[in-house]
Amino acid sequence: MSTIAAISTAQGVGAISIIRVSGEDAFNIVEKIFTNKKFKDAPSHTIHYGYIVDNGEKIDEVLVTKMCAPKTFTTEDTVEINAHGGINTTNKILELLLTNGCELASPGEFTKRAFLNGRIDLTEAEGIMDLINSKTPEASKMALNQVTGKVSNLIKDLRDDLASIIANIEVNIDYPEYEDIEEMTISKINEKLGVLKEKINKILKQSNTGELLKTGIKTVIIGRPNVGKSSILNRLVGEEKAIVTAVQGTTRDSVEATIVIGNIILNLIDTAGIRETEDLVESIGVDKSLKLIDEADLVLFVVNYNEKLTAEDKKILNKLNGKNYITVVNKTDLDKNIDEEELQNKVYVSALKDDNIEKIGDEVKKLFNLEQIETADLTYLTGARNKAILNKVLKSVSDVENGIKNNYPIDMVEIDLRNIWNLLGEITGEVYEEELLDELFSRFCVGK
C-alpha cells in the first residue's frame, strides 16, 4: 500500500495543526524535508525538534513524532508533524509531503487502514468517526469509550452469556446419553431470556440517549399565539433568528437553530402559533406544528404566567400526553394569573428580562437523565448501523419467545439464539459482511 498523508486537525486557525503520514515510506519522505538529522536513526515513539524546509527555505518550526510499525494507529510506520497552524503553512507542508512521494489520504483512510490491518474492530472504527465529528465534550467522551472498546466489551459479555446457553444445548444434543450433564430446558432458557432482554434493552436505551447526545435533541417550541415562543427562542439562540412581534400569527415559517446548553445540543424548531384559524397560510403553520409534536424528542410548551390556561392550552396539553416536554411559564415579569396544578416540569422565565432562561437546560438534563451521564462511565452505542442490528436482535428475541410459546423443540429455539449471537458479533465486527465495510468507510471524514 502507498504512503498517505493528510492534515489531521480541523482546518482553520488554531494554535497548532498536525499533519499525519502513514506507510512504508513515511520516514524516508519526512527525512527529505526535515532538518533534524537525528530523526533518521531515532528509536520508535520519540519526538524531534526542527524545521520543515523546502529547498533550504524554512517553512515552519515543528515537533515531529516518529512511531514505528506495528505499534501505531494504522500499524504502519507513522509520522506526525506538529506545525504552528495557519492554513497556508499547514497546506504548504502537506504539499511538500505529496511532492516527495506521499499520496493524499482519502476520507477515513487512516482508520480504514487501522481496521484493515486488524488494529481495531468495527465498533472501534465507528467510534473514531464519532469522535471526529462530535460536537460536545460528552459526545467525544462517549466516542472515546467506543475507541477503547467498552461497547465491544458490553456486547462481548452478552455474547458470552448466549454462548454458554448455546454450548449447553449443543452438549445435550451431541451427548444425549449423558444423564449427568445439566439439561438446558425451554423453561431455563425462558428464565435467562429475561436477563438477556434486560441487557439488550439497556444497550438500546443507552444507544438512544447516546444518539441524542451525539446529534442533538430535536426540540419543538409550542404554545398558543403570543405567549412569547419566538422571544424564548431568541434568548436561547442569542440572536434575532425569528421575528418577534406582538401581532398574532406573524411567525409563519419554522426556523431552525442549533444551540448548546451546558453540554447538550438542542435542535430547535420554532413554530407558528397554535390556534384555530381561518387564515389558510396560518393554518398550514398550525398543522405543521401539530405534526412536529410527534416528530420531536422534546417539546418546550410555552404558557403565559399572566393568563389563565385557555381551552387551546389544554388541548395542547392533551396532545403532549406521553411526550418528553417542559412547561416554560413565560412572562414572570407580569402578574401571576395562571393556575399551575395541571402543569409538569415547570420552568419560570421571563424572556423579556432574560431571566432564568438557562434553567430550561437544567430541566432538559433532568428529563433525559443526562445529569447522571455527565459523570457516569459512558458506554453508549451510537450509529444507525448498530441500532438497526440491535432492532434485529430484538426481533430475534421475540422469535425465541415465540418459539418457546409454541413449544418448539429446543434445537429450533437455538437457531434464533445463535442468530442473536451472530448479530451481536456484527456490531463488534466479528461476523463478516461485505456491504458493511463499504457503508462504514464511506462515512469517514478526512484524516483521523
Binding site: 500500500m1 481496521f115 451427548y175 413449544n407 461476523v431
Partner: protein, 618 residues
C-alpha cells in the same frame, strides 16, 4: 497386474472406497494386512450416534455400504434426541463385532472388478509427482493410475500400556512401518495422533443388579433407505449404565504417574481426541465431578466380551484390574482384554483438496483416520467420497464436492481441508451451521440424486426417490387444498387443539404445534407412506426455521462463488497479517467463503484479499 485404482487398507474408509470404485466399473485392488479383519471395529461396538448416524444415512443415500451392513449386524438400535427437534435426531446402533466384518467381507467378495490382496504397503510409487502404483514390504509392485490411502491407525502405530510401548496395530495386527516415513520424504506433513480404548470384561462376571438397564427402542429402524429389517425388536441386546466411584477416582489419582499419558512414558507426541478423553483425563480435568457415567455394551452374540464405554485408559494391567473392580457390579469382573492407547501417524489434512485428492501428489487420495479424523462413520463417509472422486477423475469428470448446506460429509471434509486438525476430528451436530436442512430423514432427498448421477444408486432406487418426491408434493398440495371447518370442532377438541370459528386449510391446521400429521390423515383423500407423512410434517411445521436456514445458506454460497485463483501468490499481498498469510498459503482456499472459515484469517484479511482480487481483475 495393473489396476485402475488401488485402495490401501480395508477399514471402514477403504471398504467404501473400494466398493464405490469397483461398482463404478473400475478394476480395483484392495490391499489389507489381514483379510479376515476387514471393516474391523477395534473400538466401540457401535455405529451411528449424534451427527454420525446422519452420516450413515448420507452414505446410504449416495450408494455406500455402511448403512446396509449395519442393518444386517444389529444388536440394538435407538433414535437419539427423540424428544428434541427433527433436525438433531440420529440413529445409534450396537453392532455385532463378528457379524459386521463378516457381512462386509461377503459383500466385497461378491463385488465384481474387486480383488482383495493381503500385504503391507511400504511406498507409493510416483513419476513426476504423479502416482503410478504401490510397492509392498515384500518388494511386490502393483501398478495403478490412482491410489487411495485408507490406512487408519496403522501408520507407525505404537500400542501404549503403562510404561510399555510396542510397535503394533490394534489387537496385535501388523503395523505399517515404512509408508509414513516414505510419505514424509515426498513432502507430506505428518502429524502424530493418539486414541485409546477401554478394557473388555466377561459378561458372566458382571453383577447386573448393580447396573441400570438401557434397552433399545421399542420400534423398528433401519439406517438404509431400502428399509430391510434383519432384527427382532423384542430380542435386542441391552446396554447397562453404571458410574465410577470415589474409590475409582482415588485409584486413578494414586497411580496417575503410571499411565502412559501421564508420565508412564515420556516420549508421547500424539494428541488425543478432546471428544473422547481417557478416564485419567476426565478425573484430572474435572476434579469436582464425583462420578463419571459409563456404559457396559455387548460386543457380539458370538463371544462374551462387554465393552466399558467411557473408561479408556493407558494404565498398566494391574492398575486396570483395581480400577475395574472398583466399579459397581464389576467387583469380580474378569478382564478379557486390557485397555490400551495407540499412537499413530496421520497426514495433515490441509494438504488435500475438497475432492480428497492430495495437493502433494496427483492421483493420490486419502480418507479416514489418515486424514486425522476419528470414528467409523467419518472414515466411511470420506472413503465413499474418495472412491467416487477417484473414479470420476479416471472418467475425466468433475469431482463430487458436497456443500456444507447439503450434508454432514460436506461439513466434515470442508472442516478438514479448511481448518486442519489439532486432535482427532469428530463430527458434531454443532459443526453444521444449517443442521435443520441436514436431517436424518431427508438424507435421500438431499443426496440420492448425486448417488444416481455418479452411478452408485440403481435405476429402481432412483425411481423410488422420484415417487417419494412426488408424494411429498402431492401431500402438500392436498393439505393446501382441503379445509377443516367448525363442523370438525368435535374432533379438533378431541385431539386437544383449539376449535375453529372459520374454516382453515389442513396446511394451516398442521402448523399448530400440538397437531401431528397423523391426526390429520383422516381428512386426506390419498394414502401416503409414513416417510412422506413425516417429511411433510417437519417441512410444514418448521417452515419458518427451514426458510431461515436456507437464507443463511444462500448468503454462504454467495461467498463460496467468489473463487480465488489456484495460482494466487499470497506473498504479493503486502498488507495481509502474517498469521493470515501463513494460513492462506497452507490451506490455499478455493473461494472467499472457504477463506473466511480458516481460523486465524479475520474479516480484515478477507477485505484485503477482496481488494487485491478486484485490483488484479480476477
Amino acid at each position: 497386474m495393473e489396476y485402475e485404482i488401488i485402495v490401501v487398507g480395508a477399514g471402514h474408509a477403504g471398504c467404501e472406497a473400494a466398493l464405490a470404485s469397483a461398482r463404478k466399473g473400475h478394476q480395483t485392488l484392495l490391499i489389507t494386512g489381514n483379510i479376515n479383519n476387514v471393516a474391523d471395529m477395534p473400538c466401540n461396538p457401535s455405529i451411528g450416534g449424534s451427527a454420525k448416524g446422519i452420516v450413515v444415512r448420507e452414505i446410504d443415500a449416495l450408494g455406500g455400504e455402511m448403512g446396509k451392513n449395519a442393518d444386517k449386524s444389529l444388536l440394538q438400535i435407538k433414535m437419539l434426541n427423540g424428544s428434541k427437534g427433527p433436525a438433531v435426531r440420529a440413529l445409534r446402533a450396537q453392532a455385532d463385532k463378528i457379524t459386521y466384518p463378516k457381512n462386509m467381507l461377503k459383500t466385497l467378495k461378491e463385488t465384481s472388478n474387486l480383488t482383495i490382496y493381503e500385504g503391507i504397503v511400504a511406498d507409493v510409487l510416483t513419476d513426476n509427482n504423479k502416482v503410478t502404483g504401490v510397492s509392498l514390504e515384500t518388494g511386490e509392485i502393483f501398478k495403478s493410475q490412482i491410489v487411495i490411502l485408507t490406512t487408519g491407525t496403522y501408520l507407525n502405530s505404537d500400542i501404549l500400556v503403562g510404561s510399555t510401548r510396542r510397535r503394533e496395530g490394534p489387537h496385535g495386527e501388523k503395523p505399517s512401518n515404512k509408508l509414513s516415513d516414505n510419505l514424509a520424504k515426498k513432502g507430506f506433513i505428518i502429524k502424530r495422533l493418539k486414541t485409546g480404548t477401554p478394557p473388555r470384561i466377561a459378561k458372566d462376571s458382571i453383577d447386573f443388579s448393580e447396573t441400570k438397564l438401557e434397552p433399545g427402542d421399542d420400534k423398528y429402524y433401519t439406517f438404509s433407505f431400502d428399509n430391510k429389517v434383519y432384527y427382532d425388536v423384542d430380542k435386542q441386546e441391552p446396554c447397562y449404565l453404571i458410574y465410577t466411584t470415589e474409590k475409582t477416582h482415588k485409584i486413578i489419582m494414586d497411580n496417575l504417574n503410571k499411565s502412559s499419558m501421564y508420565g508412564g512414558l515420556d516420549d508421547i507426541k500424539g494428541i488425543g481426541p478432546r471428544y473422547c478423553p481417557s478416564i485419567e483425563d476426565k478425573v484430572t480435568r474435572f476434579r469436582d465431578k464425583l462420578r463419571h457415567q459409563l456404559f457396559l455394551e455387548p460386543e457380539s452374540l458370538y463371544y462374551d466380551d462387554i465393552y466399558i464405554q467411557g473408561f479408556s485408559t493407558s494404565m498398566p494391567y494391574e492398575v486396570q484390574e483395581e480400577m475395574v473392580h472398583s466399579l459397581p457390579g464389576l467387583k469380580k469382573a474378569k478382564i478379557l482384554k486390557y485397555a490400551y492407547a495407540i499412537e499413530y501417524d496421520a497426514i495433515y489434512p490441509t494438504q488435500m483438496k475438497a475432492s480428497l485428492e492430495s495437493k502433494v501428489l496427483e492421483n493420490l487420495y486419502t480418507a479416514g483416520q489418515i486424514n486425522g479424523t476419528s470414528g467409523y462413520e467419518e472414515a466411511a463417509g470420506q472413503g465413499l467420497i474418495a472412491g467416487i472422486n477417484a473414479s470420476l477423475k479416471l472418467e475425466g469428470k468433475e469431482p463430487l464436492i458436497l456443500k456444507r448446506n447439503e450434508s454432514y460429509i460436506g461439513v466434515l471434509i470442508d472442516d478438514l481441508i479448511t481448518k486442519g486438525i489439532k486432535d482427532p476430528y469428530r463430527l458434531l451436530t454443532s459443526r453444521a451451521e444449517y443442521r435443520l436442512l441436514l436431517r436424518s430423514d431427508n438424507a435421500d432427498l438431499r443426496l440420492r440424486e448425486y448417488g444416481y448421477k455418479v452411478g452408485l444408486v440403481s435405476e429402481e432406487d432412483y425411481q423410488k426417490l422420484l415417487t417419494k418426491k412426488k408424494g411429498i408434493n402431492d401431500l402438500i398440495e392436498e393439505l393446501k387444498t382441503f379445509k377443516v371447518t367448525p363442523k370438525d370442532n368435535d374432533y379438533l377438541e378431541s385431539i386437544n387443539t383449539v376449535p375453529l370459528k372459520d374454516g382453515i386449510s389442513l396446511y394451516n391446521l398442521l402448523k399448530r404445534p400440538e397437531v401431528d400429521i397423523k391426526q390429520i390423515k383422516r381428512y386426506l383423500i390419498h394414502d401416503y407412506e409414513e416417510a412422506i407423512l413425516n417429511e411433510v410434517n417437519t417441512e410444514v411445521k418448521y417452515e419458518g426455521y427451514i426458510k431461515k436456514d436456507n437464507l443463511e445458506a444462500e448468503k454462504m454460497l454467495e461467498m463460496e462463488n467468489k473463487k480465488i485463483p489456484e495460482d494466487i501468490d499470497y506473498d504479493k499481498i503486502h498488507n495481509l497479517a502474517s498469521e493470515a498469510k501463513e494460513k492462506l498459503k497452507e490451506v490455499r482456499p478455493s473461494s472467499l467463503g472457504q477463506a473466511l472459515r480458516i481460523s486465524g484469517v479475520n474479516p480484515a484479511d478477507i477485505s484485503i484479499l477482496m481488494i487485491y482480487l478486484k485490483k488484479e481483475n480476477y
